[in-house]
Symmetry: C2
Subunit: 181 residues, 2 copies
DNA sequence: CAAATATAGTTAGCTAGCTAACTATATTGA
DNA sequence: TCAATATAGTTAGCTAGCTAACTATATTTG
């Protein structure tokens, strides 16, 4: 749903009405608005960033995998290591690597010492794709953050950390709920 | 990839090195860190929020569709209206509605005046699910934002708008790139 | 008023994730 | 040491998105 292009979003007024009817009386409407704003900001940002990646025939996942290989010794990693680093399921990595092999950005090598395992290596083509893409990547990031001053960047970073605290608490809340059943 | 559980994320140091090699010399490393922080904060928050929804057998998309119906006249909307409001493709809506019909949260009515069209109506069961979920929803949002003061909420909202400006500029940049080819 | 066009919903088939389960090989430990 | 267990990669089949293309009905227009 991250790519939906909503034409009807709840505004302050509608949200207030719903909260008045169904929320705890001490619920802060502006907090709920902020939550929706954060979703919106990320989703729009990510759609734009995905387009930048797509212009180089990349997705963020493919890009990150290529970067892991780029920084690895001899440009090589086993699929299972990639899966761990990414935090993705091994079959997911298999599919992505197949795609990258077809495009010629990586190749499959047999691993010494372990006949179960293989090694994935970044090809010269893969390196070239990264070297071409990286400047564009940082330019795009610069554009995204250009309206913020250095001190605003610091402030935003601090405030995001406070959201992270809220997320951790929500996870704890959910675990507790589960436990109670 | 929003659900990946990364075990290897680029830190300040690695990012500096890559920017030094491939970024414009005036690229701001802390801006790049902020970009990754914003992605991280949203993704962790959303994973936690999705769990709250899942506890009521909801996804955010299903929840939003139910809310559109909840606020609609006679609790009825056509699938095509839902697709427009969501900004999703019509076949996507068809599938979600099939799922909601199986769960008994909505029913299909024939539209008067247009034999091509149908109407989707929220059932009493659907209403009950919402009425049970909404308090939990606002409680979760409250938990997420609890570490922020009222003034911090205002500041964060302002700073997110500055990211929105950056996103718009990135979109313009991309359009220009396309045009140039 | 009939033909062309537009709209509503669905179907088929694509991508990128996931889990479960399989095969082959390594490792552990009784 | 050899049987049990664990790990690596893959395959099959699930979900939630998408686009293209189909059928049926409305609307527009020559």
């Amino acid at each position: 749903m991250d790519n939906f292009k909503f034409t009807d979003r709840p505004d302050q007024k509608r949200l207030s009405r719903t909260i008045a009817e169904y929320g705890d009386p001490k619920t802060d409407v502006s907090a709920a608005v902020l939550f929706l704003d954060l979703q919106w900001t990320y989703r729009e940002m990510q759609k734009a960033y995905d387009q930048v990646l797509a212009a180089s025939d990349l997705t963020e996942t493919r890009f990150i995998i290529l970067m892991f290989l780029f920084r690895a010794e001899n440009y090589c990693l086993a699929p299972s290591e990639l899966a761990t680093k990414l935090g993705a399921a091994r079959p997911t990595v298999t599919k992505i690597l197949n795609r990258l092999m077809i495009s010629g950005l990586v190749i499959k090598l047999s691993a010494p010492n372990d006949k179960r395992s293989i090694l994935i290596q970044l090809t010269p083509t893969g390196k070239a794709v990264l070297q071409k893409f990286l400047p564009r990547n940082f330019e795009a990031v610069q554009t995204i953050t250009a309206a913020l001053s250095a001190s605003e960047i610091k402030t935003l970073s601090t405030l995001l950390q406070k959201i992270n605290i809220g997320t951790r608490n929500l996870n704890l809340e959910e675990e507790r709920h589960h436990g109670n059943n």
